[in-house]
Point group: C2
Chain length 200, copies 2
């Protein structure tokens, strides 16, 4: 698409990507939304690459958030590879956003990633899906995809990284982590969390 | 014992008891230490009485403590009976002291009270005590007391309420709770805690 310097500036502000990446994305894309998609895909790939290259996450920190009325609180461990990143602003900001999400999400997260859902919970949910009358209308060859889609939809609500972010529902929580992985060049992993609600 | 007004003042400062209680204790006691013991026994009895009369603890709060280097953190739920006490200075001060203790104790507490030690852990420890050669020297009629004493000593190190307080090793943590129960007139119960140490 045709673009001017102000577009590059605006895109940088919106996505946080570099100047060069924004220019390339605008040149390649046919629309503003496509340019954003290109940058997001690039950021995801980058995060994945860093994650694979740099799996060791022994540093990081313990962080907490307690609501001002003391009725809900969260403790979490967020890991990265170096003490340098552990002390960085963006890492601590991410830790705070994750704690706020766990405290305030409409559905309290039970699992960190979809891989953390236990086998028996998956099996039970799969059974419930198979018993659903809607299954009959799905052609046999599409049933596996349908079941997997339903599993992710039903259980994903309880998976922290798949939840819509409480501060901006167009973003999922996992994207916040991917973004900081891309920014810092280190793998970042939420290792565990506790959430206490008064009297629960 | 003979005492002067300054003694009453000093005793009040040391124990936090009322003026009348301090005067009575000094009149009754033969020594300074005995006066303190009388006041402590009275405070314990008072705490117990309140605890029994007012067991329902549905209020309280969630509190956290994270060490400034973010390498250890604690989340806890402390319960009481009314929102009024939950918002009081002494209740919040107690919550903070408990969190600090859990974070910083020489032995990380595993249990809140001795009653929380699981039966299999008790049984295993009892077996180890029976195998100890020292057992042979204990007269048969004193063995039960000996075993119970050893159990409390060995496992008590991991029981939060039995630990020496990190800020003053002459006090056990349970006494901090008893004192606030006596002060507020409400039963106070530490319901649960989580402790995270980085990379542990």
């Amino acid at each position: 698409m045709n673009y001017v310097a102000a577009d590059v500036k605006k895109l940088r502000e919106e996505t946080g990507a570099t100047f060069a990446d924004c220019k390339n994305a605008l040149a390649e894309a046919k629309s503003w939304d496509e340019a954003i998609n290109i940058l997001e895909a690039k950021s995801d790939r980058k995060a994945k690459k860093i994650g694979e290259a740099n799996r060791e996450t022994k540093e990081g920190g313990i962080f907490s958030y307690v609501h001002h009325n003391h009725r809900v609180g969260v403790l979490l461990e967020l890991n990265c590879s170096t003490d340098f990143v552990a002390r960085s602003e963006s890492f601590r900001h991410l830790a705070n956003n994750l704690a706020l999400q766990i405290a305030g999400a409409a559905t309290t997260p039970k699992y960190i990633t979809f891989e953390d859902v236990p086998a028996d919970v998956l099996e039970e949910t799969r059974k419930a899906i198979l018993e659903d009358s809607a299954m009959e209308r799905i052609p046999a060859e599409k049933r596996d995809d349908f079941i997997n889609g339903r599993l992710k939809k039903i259980l994903g609500e309880q998976v922290l990284m798949m939840q819509p972010w409480v501060k901006d529902e167009t973003t999922v929580v996992g994207d916040l982590v991917s973004k900081v992985i891309a920014d810092t060049g280190e793998n970042i992993v939420l290792r565990r969390f506790s959430r206490f609600a008064l009297g629960e």
